[in-house]
Amino acid sequence: MYALVDGNNFYVSCERVFRPSLDGRPVVVLSNNDGCAIARSNEAKALGIKMGAPWFQIRHMEETEGLVALSANFTLYGDMSDRMMSVAAGLGPVQEVYSIDESFIGLQGVRGDLTKRSRAMRERIDRWVGIPCGVGIGQTKTLAKLANYIAKTAERKPGSYPDELAQVCNLTTLPAQDLDDVLAATLVEEVWGVGRKISAQLHEGGIHTVLDLVRMDPATIRRRWSVVLERTVRELQGMQCIDLDDAPAPKKEIACTRSFGQAITELPPLVEAVSDFASRAAEKLRKQGSLASQLLVFAHTSPFRPGPRFNRSIVVPLRRPTADTGKLVWAAAVGMRRMYEPGYKMANAGVMLLDLVPGSVLQGELDLEEEDQRDRTKLMVALDTLNGRYGKGTVHSASTGGTNKGKDWGMKQERRTPNYTTKWEDVPVARA
């Protein structure tokens, strides 16, 4: 059994912790070049602002609706994420951090009323860290993810689901009829792993709701669609097909992270660890037929233990998109060596492959060009493409705080809030 803990409107919630005056107001967080909205408060959603809405299109609402727009502050979000994750880890024996604002918790062996326990945990994250979360509990990861969606939707749109499912939704304790009702009220596109294309095909085939999908015969699904969708259907039926750390890769990034059994302070074992992560990530990358253009390495000290804190990540651009283990390992090692400082007890490190491209678009080429020139253009093109196309997530950390003092992309963060938790000059001010 799994729980998925997910911060509500995470970036906006992080900002609100230090600016409580933003509570109740429509707030959006803008992507790196202040280009488009990558997080929206419920009030902003209610105004009809869509995910990824370009800033110039919604800008007028500053005047008319009191909309507040902030530049993404990933340094802050990273720290708030660490806090949230380490509290959430108390829910069960295993945790898989799936993205900056969501983690799966394996609940094997946890006794007692899981719903109650989850409510208490949710309450604790809210009170301690300041971030409101939704918790979904299900027999499988796909069901946990679905339960999480229900928990959030029930909270945001009263009446959409039974009120008692708001904030914490435990599908495993619902009576059969209630479960069917809930599944019948949810469209197939809300299911984890069902993309836009497949959901359109499902609708065409008369499969509209999750209940319709659950009632399908997996073998038929495999014949008409794919093994992947079959796996999703089986997961929805309660048969576990996706283990922790074995999730379908998010489309934009592939991550491989681990907590160390024992804190590591020396460089060589850290390099070894991230090399290992990089090669495992490379495997996943090849499995889905993609190439990575950038690699992010991070390392943290434990939030539980006293002592000096270290919490850094570094983005290493690759010369050209690759799925070659050797090249990715090399980049991970270089990144780790670049950010390493002695004297910290690292508890956790990881590698993320970013800016993934399909393997089919790679052009064969000779290694004859002047490397510098080639790479700069490629890098910029990659960045621009990314910003235009995705607009969310870690991808942007590539250009946040870049040392290449921003001719083209470094500087447009007019609305960035202070680094409240990572810089002494920036800590929030209280009047006395």
Partner: protein
């Protein structure tokens, strides 16, 4: 977050440096008698242990103003605010009133609640009916640095 975008090509992995990196730990080989202190290896005192009880719930704030000076919190002090601690009568808190954050004593007696300064020149803040006071966190400590040169 750091970025190495200024060097688009990863620099070659310098194996020689790797090979030279020697672990510095207590278990070194040595001649002669072992140090008698080896059995007493402990961690050096760390001020964070005193200041921070709940790392995930602890935030630092800077104080501006002199209304809490009799409590030892002066203009410019850094306060350690713990959101995991439940506020009670007599706690020093960071409180939210009308969207503003202020540091005060929390007074909660006989169903009445107010915010009290630690400076006689400041009146108590008694919330009006329309006002809500939220406690953001409880102040656990205060750090002051003095001029040293």
């Amino acid at each position: 977050m750091y970025s190495v975008l200024d060097s688009p090509l990863p620099v070659p992995f310098d194996e020689a440096v790797e090979a030279l990196a020697l672990p510095m730990c207590g278990v070194s080989v040595r001649a002669g008698f072992p140090s008698p202190a080896d059995d007493f290896v402990v961690e050096r005192l760390d001020i964070m242990q005193l200041l921070v009880k709940h790392p995930q719930a602890t935030y630092f704030w800077r104080v501006r103003g002199d209304s809490m000076q009799d409590a030892g919190i002066e203009d410019g002090s850094i306060i350690v605010v713990d959101r995991a601690v439940r506020p009670k009568h007599g706690s020093i808190v960071v409180a939210l009133i009308d969207g503003e954050c202020t540091v005060k004593y929390l007074y909660q007696r006989a169903g009445r609640m107010k915010l009290r300064a630690a400076n006689p020149t400041y009146p108590d803040i008694i919330p009006r009916d329309s006002q809500t006071v939220l406690v953001w966190g409880v102040v656990r400590g205060c750090v002051k640095l003095f001029a040293t040169s």
